[in-house]
């Protein structure tokens, strides 16, 4: 995957479909890790992307697809010149209202439920996050990681 300063590398697309069953998000994580390696993303940022990908898949399974095991979560990976983008699609209506930032102390004092960390983690781990509705595919969470400028060889 070495890029030369002159060569315009084409976009690479990988597509994955997994059932809405806990555990299968690890397949999506592994694919993210492999693409991060191909893209030359350093290991710590690759792990960030993997965790964000897993959380977006879990939300898609739970909140989007209501854990229907026959409804799939579709994941599209785009390896572009300057970014690695991961789109996670579910068949739900999407996030109605951005959740407030979770506060650990409110959870420890039982004012809030212990859960509710997914979106917070996603937003803190990748360079850019977008939520949207696509008429064709349903609700999408888009994770964007910027790549370092291509090495000149």
């Amino acid at each position: 995957m070495k890029k030369t300063a002159s060569a315009k590398s084409e976009e690479k697309i990988v597509r994955l479909m997994i059932p809405s069953t806990f555990g299968y998000e690890k397949i999506a994580m592994n694919a993210a890790a492999e693409l991060a390696e191909i893209a030359g993303i350093p290991p710590d940022r690759s792990q960030d992307l993997c965790t964000a990908t897993a959380e977006a898949c879990i939300n898609a399974m739970q909140h989007g697809n209501k854990m229907s095991p026959t409804t799939s979560v579709d994941i599209l990976y785009y390896l572009k010149d300057n970014t690695l983008e991961i789109e996670i699609y579910d068949h739900g209506a999407g996030i109605q209202k951005h959740p407030p930032k979770p506060v650990l102390e409110r959870k420890l004092s039982k004012k809030d439920a212990p859960r509710g960390w997914g979106i917070f983690l996603i937003e803190n781990l990748v360079d850019q996050v977008e939520f949207g509705i696509s008429s064709r595919h349903g609700h999408v969470t888009r994770l964007i990681m910027k790549l370092q400028p291509a090495e000149v060889v």
């Binding site: 806990f22 555990g23 998000e25 690890k26 994580m29 710590d44 792990q47 960030d48 965790t51 897993a54 959380e55 879990i58 979770p102 506060v103 650990l104 102390e105 959870k107 420890l108 004092s109 039982k110 439920a113 212990p114 859960r115 509710g116 960390w117 997914g118 917070f120 983690l121 803190n124």
Partner: protein, 118 residues
Amino acid sequence: MENFQVHLELDGAIATLKMNGDLTHTAEQRLINAYDKCATPKTKHIVLDFSQVEYINSAGMSIIISMLTRAQEIQQEIRACGLSPHFQKIFNMVGLSKYIMHFENLQDALQGLHAQKA
């Protein structure tokens, strides 16, 4: 295939929970069951050994938070060891590192405690 196991060791006021596998939704019951066995004022310190845990997701974080809530109610201290740098960062983001001190390995986590005990 069950991909989470937890092994409890009780030693006076210290309980060590050695986990193995993925700390996710499916781990909840096993981890709670193990914690139930040491959720008494007799146990003063809980050491969570993450060295054999490869993957923790937000559901796993919630389980740790529930455990910490209960531990605080009975004045138990929780320590952790063996988290990878990535999950140390996540513990930090969530705020758990303020309440759960992290040690490189189990020996380091237990050291001060055994001194107290003696």
